[in-house]
Symmetry: C2
């Protein structure tokens, strides 16, 4: 397919699952001109070339962003903030900087400080990835069908942001424009609470399990599905907790309360109430299967 | 493949996902002679014949068990107990009765009362199924690779139970022989707690979500995986809670405590402790992926 690229030169900073998948998707659809990838290790950069993720690679972030009209930061939250603080002076006039960090308020505040008025920033967050990581797991359809948040302080989109929005639509994601604060509240429930719920479930199982691991050995699909995301990077999730602390604390409090009510109904033998709670959950879960994105695996 | 069947005439009582899958698996491997299936509705029985689940069908449970040397009860827990109380006088001399109920202590106690000394009972529980149900979802490989509990009061297996054990090994399940009480404790953690954790997660999400369902709409694979089993039958899960009340209450208490500790670390900004909890969970979850059964979907 031949089309005029939406961006001429894209710098992808961080070549893991997300950065690699974004680059592969853009390339597959000819949405961008050249892609230059930056990463910390030579091994990752060699893989980036081998897997066709980038035309050029460098370990020098400042060099990567020079000349780019789109800078895509695909790093954990703390690293994203650090990178933002170093690239300001090297950005082209009119360049758009975006990121893929899991929390947005702190990143957007850092960008506000660090990005000069001649360039522009829009926060981004693809709801894709899960427990896998690394460039080897990258694939061009990773984002397809998944929600993709764009965060802007106001509601309106500038021309450059609109162009990035158009690019995302080509990737067949479900773009959702919200403020950074609203994003962080939504994902504390849709993503961060599920992660901590899964991690706590694993920790309960291993704390009561004997040396033979009989509970783990008894796991059917229920425990496996419920805890799958708990395998994710603890560094990344600590970063997420640190930068979305209050929302996650509120979500945990609501979850603990809901579980305590369930346990009270159980202890008191209030089977109708328990049934009703299980029925509401089952109905909501079936609704979730009817929403876009349910086919993404 | 030609082999002498391990059981001549099998009565499958209850033709849903589990009963149907058991029958299909036995048939595919020629492990049994004739299969007679009993269910409550004509529609299910018509499907049972259409899908090749049974040679004969009947709505009369007593008729089904007559002449059977293996009786396989595949009904929810309360229904299993009711059926046990009605079939005693119709069982053949030497018949083996087993079940597939999700909890075992109450079922085994009911069987102790109801099954005459001329026949025999062994509790059973395949850790398969999840959120799907009904005979249309039945498939011959449903149990493959999954744990399958057999519960006996003592450790030793009689000749008839050993024959059923051999049958299960042909189905390539991971047979695990425990007492009914030990079973109920293990599954309260490996299956029942994950279900309630998933249901509570859905209920938190819908209780805070606006009419537009923005949190549900933001769901990535994390929330979807974590809550998948919550779509399961509320009737079945109420039965499970009722018949495994104390173990589930204990498991919920441990889970609530673990979540509260996580929240305290978060609120206090104890990032090293939080990291450590997330790391232990991630390591345990990766171990789970290396155990048998992790490929079953």
């Amino acid at each position: 397919m031949s089309r005029r690229p939406l961006f001429e030169r894209v710098a992808v900073i961080g070549c893991g699952l997300i950065g690699g998948s974004f680059a592969l998707a853009c390339r597959e659809q000819n949405l961008v001109g050249r892609i230059v990838a930056a990463a910390r290790t030579k091994e990752t950069l060699a893989l980036a070339r081998e897997l066709g993720v980038a035309d050029e690679t460098t370990r020098d972030v400042q060099q990567a962003v020079s000349g780019a009209d789109l800078v895509y930061l695909a790093a954990p939250v703390q690293a994203t903030i650090s990178i933002l603080q170093t690239i300001g002076s090297r950005l082209e006039k009119g360049a758009l900087v975006t990121d893929a960090g899991s929390t947005k308020a702190e990143i957007c505040a850092a960008a506000e400080q660090a990005i000069p008025g001649t360039a522009e920033f829009v926060g981004g967050h693809p709801m894709a990835g899960g427990e896998t990581s690394g460039i080897r797991a990258a694939r061009p359809d990773l984002f397809r069908g998944a929600p993709y948040f764009l965060t802007t302080p106001e509601g309106s989109l500038s021309a450059a942001v609109q162009r990035f929005y158009d690019l995302l639509e080509h990737l067949e994601v479900c773009v959702c424009v919200v403020t950074p604060e609203e994003h962080d509240r939504l994902v504390s429930l849709a993503s961060h609470l599920p992660h901590l719920a899964a991690a706590a479930l694993m920790n309960v199982v291993i704390s009561v399990d004997g040396a033979e691991g009989q509970v783990l050995g008894s796991a059917g699909r229920g425990l496996r599905d419920t805890t799958r995301i708990a395998a994710g990077s603890p560094e990344m999730w600590r970063d997420i907790c640190r930068t979305n602390k209050q929302n996650i604390s509120d979500a945990l409090a609501a979850y603990i309360e809901t579980l305590s009510f369930l346990r009270e109904d159980l202890d008191a033998g209030r089977w109708d109430e328990l049934y009703d709670a299980l029925r509401r959950a089952a109905e909501a879960r079936r609704r979730l299967d009817e929403l876009p994105g349910s086919q993404t695996e």
